[in-house]
Amino acid sequence: MADVQVPVKSESSVFSFGKAEKKLITDPLSDNNPITVQVLGVCSALAVTTLVSKALVMGIAVIFVTAFSNLFTSMLREYIPKSVRMIVQLVIIAFLVTVVELILKAVNYPIWKELSVFIGLIITNCILMGRLEAFAMGNKPWRSFLDGIGNGLGYGIILVMVAVFRELFGKGSLMDFKIIGPTSEYVLNTMEISWLSWYAPNNLAILSPAAMFIIAIIIWVQRSRNPKLVDIS
């Protein structure tokens, strides 16, 4: 884990939001992104990115779980015996994931049905354990909470980016808003606009390998723009 932890010099209040705190949120979005730089949580990034709406819900769920599991773990960090810390962390994660699942099932049943097993699988998402071990066990609750939000956001953003590509090229739509396709339901009807008649949705984009390619391309672009990252992992 490539974490440069900025020591907080003077803490005026518990909930201060200074430069160091801001860095906790912005860092995971780019230079310390959990998916593209730490390469954690790729499994679910492959599975739930066929539709933007699915990716969004998944992203929000993960933000919630990372933020609060970090918060709770950090609050309890001095009372957790070292030998059973993994078990305690797992209880916290599993608890939060179950809460998310129950709420999602009540709020939006069709999305819950589609995400089905992957919400439950947040428990095994490496980002969570990674952040708890690397950050929450050694930092104050507020900072851990922000770190959780940052990492959840970093994960969610990549998920949505991948989903935008996959949904647009695979289904010709975004958030179920139909953009390009062969019937009159779409904004760009390829049957009627002659210069678009060559277009066909790319079925590969919907299959899991496409997510792999897109994540790889994102990693590639990010590293070629920022050579500092190349040595890290």
Binding site: V88, F95, K105, A106, Y109
Partner: protein, 235 residues
């Protein structure tokens, strides 16, 4: 900590239980209604929970039958399955029971112009998990008037097309399950072009196993209804 966690979770589960069951019931009702979506003239997916509930309760008549084709009284259904409405029964479980105990649902949709459509339920296996479908029949119990398939976890873009791609599942509409002599043929899913237009639809390329699953489920699932269909055809 365990006690706190257990307490919060159990409170949440019991607190949200009603919403969950309602959502589930609405989901099932949407499935049944989308089998007759052409006849409804409304878009079910844009409807809210309340509207779906209302439409379902006013236009759909529910029955439960056994394999002999006898209608089970609502009281018996309740004692046997614990569900007050047939739509809320876990039919996936029901269909795995031994044949003499197995129950089957029949949903009858009455359209505004007083036509009756009977919706039958079939369930089978896809590539990854279970698939199921609601098949609506014209009043002759032979011609398919509409259909809605659903699945637990088929591959998006391939197997999941049975639910998402209207160009594919729409093929079933107008097909017949009995031939001219009245022999049960069902509708098969075939590769490489349809030869008997009345009883065949084209498969999905790249989704052989899901398509075979639909094929199998249409044969076996509808066969269970055979005696009930024969009884009703005569009358």
């Amino acid at each position: 900590m365990t006690i706190i966690v257990a307490l919060v979770l159990s409170l949440l589960v019991s607190g949200l239980k009603e919403v969950h069951t309602e959502n589930e019931s609405v989901y099932n009702k949407k499935g049944i209604l989308s089998a007759v979506s052409e006849q409804l003239g409304q878009d079910i997916n844009s409807m809210g929970n309340k509207e779906v509930q209302e439409l379902f309760s006013t236009s759909i008549d529910q029955k439960v039958i056994n394999l002999k084709g006898e209608v089970i009284s609502p009281e018996d259904v309740k004692t046997k399955t614990g569900a007050s409405e047939p739509v809320d029964i876990d039919w996936g479980k029901e269909i795995k029971k031994p044949e003499n105990e197995r129950l089957l649902p029949v949903f009858t949709y009455k359209s505004k112009d007083n036509k009756e459509y009977n919706i039958l339920y079939v369930r089978g296996k896809g590539l990854w998990d279970e698939i199921w479908g609601y098949i609506a029949f014209e009043s002759d119990w032979n011609t398919i008037a509409g259909q809605a398939f659903d699945h637990k976890g088929e591959t998006p873009g391939l197997g999941a097309e049975i639910k998402d791609n209207k160009a594919w599942y729409g093929q079933f509409t107008g097909r017949k399950i009995y031939n001219a002599e009245g022999v049960f043929k069902s509708v098969s899913v075939v590769k490489g072009g349809v030869k008997i237009p009345d009883h065949q639809v084209d498969a999905i390329s790249g989704a052989t196993i899901t398509a075979n699953g639909v094929d199998e489920m249409m044969k076996r699932g509808l066969k269970y209804y055979e005696s009930y269909i024969q009884k009703n055809k005569k009358s």
